[in-house]
């Protein structure tokens, strides 16, 4: 019974996808209803599975696909289903004027099944299988609009997915060869016994490549800021909120299983994590596109999670704070990004632009949008009493703890970068908030004010429902969030918490306060100063991101599309067209008198 249930979590949405597609060919309304029904049933199933899981873990196995359910997986399957359900509520209105929506929903449900599969997988092979299906099935989301930008971003997304998948596969070959197992729970012991550390690190790096690319890790984040703005908003919410977490899932396997307590790996991850965290935030501050800002923010938040994961490695058995911080920040980021992207979608479906200068002032006098966005912004900004504060505090404390333990100056720097990245988060969220809800649009404010009913009841319910969760969690942190954090520990393998954390002690509030101060300073000095310019007498947001900083256009695309084929192509032609052997053969044959000269 339980085994069937756990399989059903994966199979049910996948199996219902074609049915929904067929329903859509007949009638749009019945399809919308079907999508909502399917995601709702999936949500119920995950909750049912989670409740049944309270008695202990259980596993299922079908033709080589190993699934299991434990605390972490319960939380993430429920969150995944919840997010799909919420976006499904927004979708009927959002997609009202779209073409090819049947296609979107077909792949939407396929991806749901695959994503559940990733989170439920008990071995890396299964995880990889579903990960690939998820990557490919989510490709049509990005390409949905079929505009030039969308297709280009979709191609990047596909290329990252395919290349990432192949490199990960190489890593799995190596790992399997070294340890003989890919079962996640066995990997720690198996990897500890490996004497050939160099190869193990190579394997780890290869596996990290694919999962990291999906999560938006520097320098493989390139698809993120491009794909999110062009994808439909419900898809962006899922891409950012859930699919990146599937990448993080792989990284947890790396940091908390394969390289548990491994310092070398921990330091490497720390470097990558800090760069991702800071660079994402900087890009976010510089961006002048609503969804791009949110995408960069996702990248930055993933950096926070990576930093936490590196602390899990570095702190050894005393990693309780880091492990709980990682778990909570994953959950928080998923929920917050759901709210923010859905708000962005609600704005986009009214004004059909994401340019900050054009949608300026749209949110004035729109209480539902205002409420939802504010909850999200406060949550992600790490303001006390909202959920983001809790996880950021835990992550920050874990860095402080490691600094106290190691005394390394680099850790102190990392801590400051952490606070600065937190400050930048506050800054870019303030930028968005002020732009949308405070400032007036000089051109069409009256038109914007005229749009009174900007949301259908269904969409409004989705927004309010998802937004209300954030302060609710933040204010009942002692009960709800601590429990969620505890649930994750069987998978993340944090140590025992020595004493309960008082989130609102002066020490902890100080970290949040510093970030807030940095944020306010950056907002007023940098954003209002350097990042705005006067145009026709109006101060507008300026795009000051230098073009040469675009890794994709300046490095990856030329390398993959020009340099590599340019070098290897001629080499292949030498063999392919037998440029050496054929003339040589002809020469010898003519010398021997076997063939006559063509003259």
């Amino acid at each position: 019974m339980r085994n069937i249930l756990i399989l059903l979590l994966v199979v049910f949405p996948m199996a219902s996808a074609p049915a929904v597609w067929l329903a859509g060919r007949k009638n749009r309304r019945s399809r919308d209803f079907a999508v909502i029904a399917v995601t709702f049933i999936e949500l119920c199933l995950t909750i049912l599975a989670a409740v049944m899981c309270f008695n202990g873990e259980y596993a299922a196995d079908l033709c080589g696909i190993n699934l299991r359910l434990d605390g972490f997986r319960c939380v993430y399957t429920v969150i995944t289903a919840f997010m799909w359900f919420m976006t499904a509520l927004l979708s009927p209105e959002y997609f009202a004027h779209y073409h090819n929506t049947d296609r979107y929903f077909l792949f939407c449900l396929l991806t749901l099944g695959a994503t559940q599969g990733v989170f439920l997988s008990a071995d890396l092979m299964t995880a990889f299988l579903f990960f690939e299906v998820m990557s490919l099935a989510s490709f049509p989301w990005v390409a949905q609009d079929e505009t030039g930008d969308a297709l280009r971003a979709a191609n990047t997304y596909l290329a990252v997915a395919v290349i990432g998948g192949l490199v990960t596969l190489m890593g799995m070959f190596l790992l399997n060869n070294l340890t003989g197992t890919l079962v996640i729970d066995e990997l720690y012991d198996a990897c500890k016994a490996v004497s050939n550390r160099g190869t193990l690190y190579t394997a780890g790096a290869c596996i990290l490549f694919g999962f990291g690319a999906k999560a938006g890790m520097f320098p493989l984040h390139i698809w993120l800021p491009k794909a999110h703005p062009v994808a439909p908003a419900p898809a962006s919410a899922l891409l950012s909120g859930v699919l990146t977490k599937a990448g993080v899932f792989g990284m947890i396997v790396l940091c908390c299983h394969i390289f548990r307590y491994d310092e070398v790996w921990g330091f490497a991850m720390l470097i990558v994590g800090v760069i991702t965290m800071v660079w994402g935030a900087v890009l976010g501050v510089l961006s002048v596109n609503l969804k791009r800002t949110l995408a960069c923010s996702s990248m930055s938040q993933i950096g926070f999670i990576l930093t936490g994961l590196s602390m899990c490695c570095l702190l050894g058995h005393e990693n309780a704070l880091a492990a709980r911080g990682v778990m909570l920040h994953m959950v928080n980021h998923s929920l917050i990004k759901l709210v923010l992207f859905m708000t962005a979608g609600a704005i986009y479906m009214n004004v059909h632009t994401l340019d900050l200068n054009k949608l300026r002032g749209f949110g004035r006098n729109k209480p539902i949008l205002h409420f939802a966005f504010l909850m999200g912004a406060l949550g992600i900004g790490g303001i006390p009493l909202w959920n983001g504060y809790i996880s950021k505090t835990l992550l920050h404390e874990s860095i402080v703890e490691f600094y106290a333990e190691s005394g390394l100056i680099w850790i102190k720097i990392a801590e400051w970068l952490f606070l600065i990245a937190g400050g930048l988060t506050v800054a870019y969220m303030t930028k968005l908030y002020v732009c949308i809800f405070v400032e007036k649009n000089t051109e069409c404010q009256e038109k914007y004010d005229g749009i009174k009913k900007s949301l259908s009841p269904l969409s409004a319910a989705a927004l309010i429902g998802s937004a209300a969760v954030l302060p609710l969690l933040g204010m009942t942190s002692g009960i709800t969030m601590n429990r969620i954090a505890e649930l994750g520990q069987s998978f993340i393998h944090g140590g025992e918490l020595e004493h309960a954390v008082n989130y609102f002690s002066l020490e902890n509030l100080k970290g949040g306060g510093i970030s807030l101060a940095i944020g306010v300073t950056v907002y007023f000095l940098v954003i209002r100063g350097f990042l705005m310019k006067k145009e026709n007498g109006v101060r507008v947001y300026a795009d000051r991101l230098p073009k040469w900083l675009d890794l994709e256009d300046k490095v990856y695309r030329p390398l993959l599309l020009k340099i590599l084929p340019g070098c290897l192509g001629p080499l292949a032609r030498v063999f392919g067209e037998n440029k050496v052997l054929a003339p040589a053969g002809k020469f010898i044959a003519s010398k021997l008198g076997l063939i006559k000269d063509e003259k």
């Binding site: 033709c63 490919l136 063999f575 392919g576």
Partner: protein, 484 residues
Amino acid sequence: MLLTAVLIPTLAGLLLPAVRIKNRITKLILLMAVLAAEAGVCVTLAFGGDASFHILRITEGLSLDLGIDGLGRLFIILISVGWLLTGLFACEYMKHEKNEDRFFAFMLLSEGAMLMTALAANMATLYTAYELLTLVSMPLVIHSMTKESVSAALKYLFYSIAGAFLALLGIFFLYKYTSSMSFVPGGSLDTAAAVRDSKILLPVIFAAVIGFGAKAGMYPLHGWLPTGHPAAPAPASALLSGLIAKAGVIAVIRLVYYVVGAEFLRGTWVQTALLILALITVFMGSMMAYLEKVLKKRLAYSTVSQLSYIMVGLFMLSPAGVQGALLHVIFHVLSKVCLFLTAGAIIYLTGKTEAGQLTGIGKQLPVTMWCFTLASLTLVGIPPTGGFLSKWYLASAALKGMNGAFKWLIPVVLLVSALLTAGYLLPIAVKGFFPGGDNDAFRRIHEPRVMWVPMVILAVLAVALGLFSSGIADFTGSLASLMC
């Protein structure tokens, strides 16, 4: 029973032009009945017990014999099903070609020769069937009688026959060192004598493998493939690429594993040289495909590359490698036949031949392009499709069984080639389904049922066999451990 399997298509092929049926429908129904009956016979044979049949004795120690063993079982199923599905597709496709009777006749004859190759019980039979196959499949290439197809067919003939002569040279030498030329798993080489004369024997075996490799498109004798395929009608390319080229694989397996024995070659320079050649082919084939613009030619280069995946697996000379190779045989047949059929459907229904022209094709021919996409994913080796399975076995075999540079080189080359495969196949599907711009510009074109049914069967099999793989994995595994 064994003889019937070979005789049914051969006789039908000989009779077809002689009888001259006026009504096209009757003719096609008869044709399909023959192919279906043949598939039935082959499946019965494959699931029956071991059997052998003596045809005739040429001279002392040299006779034509048929027999069925594990390898034969695998191949006759693939061959008969492949021919059945391609035949179905050809019923529609050949409408726009002339002389379809001739085409069908040689198609049937090729099936007979191909089955004989698979069922051959000794080297003499195999060689006979192999040469026959070249002769009767050549008219498939030459079919359209254009200048281009004539030169392509001559090239095919030249490469295949030159290769076969190289192989024949090896067979002559080997004759002296083996107890008989019958196929015995593990080989029947007189080890003491062979080791003494290994200075002669090794180069000769090397030459023989290269010679048989010609049909499987292995460097340096791969040249016929990229010219032969685009010239032939699509069903013929599907057969040539998906199945007839596998005759080279069968011959190499029989030679290496059933006559010489893997033990004798393991660790010699022959193994190293062959592995290097196969790896060069893997990379070269996919790079050339990536650079190629004409769809069918691109698929032909892809075959060059994919067949050498199989060769790499075979030349690793380990059970795991052979198992990977055999699995790749299965999935390459399914996906490549499917891809060539889709290419044929595109040519037949839209007249487009170049990859660059295929923008929006997914909206015009959705079923075809869905099959194309699934088959492409199989060829790239994205899980859960079957191609992933074979790649997994091949790479694991290399990491576990090989020493030195090959340990790394083989998986890396396989993955780079997979990346290139994705690079030359997936953009077609992407552009096909997501053309951008005006949505109504691409009207759906009616796809005839006889065209899409075979493609769908193949594409679904390629994915489903990957998902439910334990059966074929066990079968190939036990076959491989028997051979090494």
